[in-house]
Amino acid sequence: MSSDPLESIAKGATKGTLEWSSDFIKKLIVKFQDHKLKFIRDEENIEIAKEQYNSGELQIYRYYIEDKEKLMILRMGLVLRKLENKGEREKKQELREDIMKKYKIQGLHVAQFVENGILNRYIGILLDDISSIEDFKEKINDIIENIEKYVVFVKGIDSERSTLDLCLRITTSNLSMIFIVSGMGSAAETIKNIEERLIVLLKDYELEKMSKGDKENLFFKRILKND
């Protein structure tokens, strides 16, 4: 350990002591104020947050979305994906709870939308038929603001019947270009069980499956008719 206690703290090499004098604490605070010292608990959390802050995917979103709150939710979706890929289940669950506290269920759904890669797929579909950048931006922002009109997030307790009813209700009241049914775990089983019935019900859509692990995402894309 360094003989300079301030230096030891900066290196994380001290356990602290009851003998920290008020003068010593004042020196620490000056170091904080001068941006020369920070007390962190888990370096990994900072690294994960930093990595997504600098990610190419977020840079692309920044081009189309100006609202800082929306961007933060999208960023958290990228972090959820990262944690999932690293098998960090506990951290992922903690983050889901924090997103829920801060942005309510709608924010969590948007983050899941990003986590599952569905936003990127939607952007791909929009690019196939782009009329103007402004129209493109408007559509992306609309799906973020009105996620529940485009995506049914099935929960484990939802029955097949109630899920089918909800899908039908949403697709008849909102003629959107895409419609997604998403769930994980036991909800993914419910989705698998109703897949054939959904294909029959949603005859104006073509199905693209985006399934991975214990997640099931049925991505329905409206068939454009030439009339």
């Binding site: 002591t17 920070k38 608990r41 802050y53």
Partner: protein
């Protein structure tokens, strides 16, 4: 922060104009001090102290991400 004992952390909090009941970070009135980004009480064992007028936060990815937005050049 994990390496620093509880009493030193509390002494540091006092130096910052805050306090602790041994479990949570408290404000001057003895109320639980909330994480400025997600409004949750901060446990002493989970706190981080970061530059920027000296900010005490809960150590979670969402708060740290907000901090990076507000102070992009610090971490």
């Amino acid at each position: 922060m994990k390496n620093i004992d509880l009493n030193s952390k509390i002494a540091l909090l006092k130096g910052l104009g805050l306090g602790s009941d041994g479990e949570y970070v408290l404000d001057l009135d003895g109320n639980k001090f909330l994480d400025r980004y997600i409004d949750i009480p901060i446990k002493v064992e989970n706190m981080v102290i970061l530059p920027g007028s000296v900010i005490v936060l809960d150590d979670n990815i969402l708060s740290l991400s907000h901090y990076m937005e507000e102070f992009p050049d610090v971490l």
